[in-house]
């Protein structure tokens, strides 16, 4: 698969403050890529660099276009960063994902309205299109934000803590939806989470982000007890149960 994003000796930070140093890794087209790490470790900084809104202090972050066009991201922010005091409808929120394509001075056309409806149907919330976004549950809002990202027809979907603050069933439902978008639509997915379980059973490649410990590779190579214990500075177990990986804090006892 061709490379989409390449970190070449990239050092990231703000002003004189270095957050992550000398990173070298590549995210390819079709990847299902997870980024985990403790709070404040630099996940958001890394995400901003991937999105192209934070320039590296040194080195290079190369973002490769697809078929001669610049790489288009579908970004799904954390729900609580959106201040929804005004009662935008779900349809209006998803239409915002089209604004870049619609362009300045132009108004949404029939094609844009069709794409919005398709995106809503794709994430199973077409029935909510006339409801106010601010009145939805956390899980419904997340689906709408994913629909908005899909409406821009992205080459890569980037999700920042997509399951934050969700109950168990909503969380699984969102993770299954993201998984389906990757498997069925062959969409490149980059997901940031501080919930290890979220990524352990879904992504294919993983980056563990910590200031003095950055590891990236295939999930099974990186998601090891040794790595996790080192990053979180406590004993951590990775235990298979019914074919799924379960992350537990604590030492192994006996056999």
């Amino acid at each position: 698969m061709p490379p989409l994003i390449e970190f070449q000796n990239a050092t990231l930070g703000y002003g004189r403050k270095i957050v992550l140093q000398d990173m070298n890794f590549t995210i390819h087209a079709g990847d299902y890529f997870g980024m985990v790490g403790p709070n404040g470790a630099g996940k958001t900084t890394l995400l901003r660099a991937i999105l192209g809104i934070l320039k590296p202090l040194s080195g290079k972050v190369a973002i490769h276009g697809v078929a001669g066009a610049p790489l288009r991201f579908g970004y799904v922010p954390q729900r609580d960063t959106i201040d929804d005091l005004l009662p935008y409808t779900v349809r209006e929120v998803v239409m915002m994902g089209r604004y870049r394509q619609i362009g300045i001075f132009h108004r949404p056309q029939k094609t844009d309205r069709e794409i919005v409806l398709e995106s809503l149907q794709h994430v199973d919330v077409a029935d909510l299109q006339n409801r106010a976004f601010k009145d939805l549950s956390g899980g419904q809002k997340q689906r709408v934000l994913i629909a908005r990202a899909l409406a821009s027809k992205p080459a890569a979907l980037i999700l920042d803590e997509p399951t934050n603050g969700m109950d168990f069933s909503s969380k699984i439902s969102i993770l299954e939806l993201i998984h389906r978008l990757h498997e069925e639509d062959r969409l490149t997915v980059i997901m940031v989470s501080h919930f290890l379980d979220d990524v352990a059973n879904y992504v294919k490649r993983l980056a563990i982000v910590e200031r003095n410990f950055f590891q990236v590779g295939e999930l099974n190579e990186v998601l090891t007890e040794k790595n996790l214990s080192s990053v979180y500075q406590m004993p951590i177990m990775v235990t298979p149960i019914n074919g799924a990986k379960v992350i537990l804090a604590g030492e192994r006892r006996g056999n």
């Binding site: 970004y75 922010p77 201040d83 005004l86 009662p87 915002m96 604004y99 106010a132």
Partner: protein
Amino acid sequence: MEIKEIIATIIAEFPHALYGSVIVGALCAFLGVYIVARRVVFLGAVLTQISVLGLALTFLPFIAVSHTIGSLVVTIIAVIMLSRLLTGKKIPRDAMLGFIFAFAIAARILILQKTPKVEVAEIENLLRGDILFVTPELFYLMLGVFIAAMVVHGLFFKEFAYIAFDAETARTQGFNTGGWETLFYVIAAVVIAVATHIVGDIFVFGFLVIPPLAAMQLVKSVKAIFLVSFLIGALTPVLGLVLAFKFDFPASPTIIAVAAVVLMLTYALRRR
């Protein structure tokens, strides 16, 4: 005097006051929807005080510019500086705005103490905006600002709406969010500076907040909120002026009192 008679008198004697307060009310009410939705109401209060400070500065003997130009220049510079200061993390945003608010009022009082040109009471009247004595020049300037602001907001409604709703995602899509934010606040600064000169700081700040809040109680869609806020902003000054004439009250506080009653009524009637 009968209501009809009062209206006829206002139209005949103070047309610029009437139409000026209508366009200022409507425009502030429209922009106020964004100000309230972005939760930057205090910024509106600060900008009105800065524009009054700009006006006061023009009374100093060594500053030879018109009151409106002084107010405009100081407010626009302040907005551009604020857009940088408010993104810093060392001082909390509210504290920074509070400091500027207090400084603007204190500086205005000190300037007025040392102004030799005209009597302080006359200056205070100008600084508070005396609606009834709006000059044709000021009215046409305000009309020009009204048309320009509404055209820009009409052309870029979707961009302003998107950036107010979710600037972070807009930025990832290639929108120059900083540029759009600056454009929004520069327009707000121009409106506030000219409007404060015409109707005073209490009117301007009141209409940035009260009509949007009333509209949010009444209607469910975003476009309807903008429209209803605009209409409340346009109609309330007419009723306020009539009542001010009828009961011999000062115009600006009467208009604000009427707007407050409208807000309380809409709150009582709000959608369930």
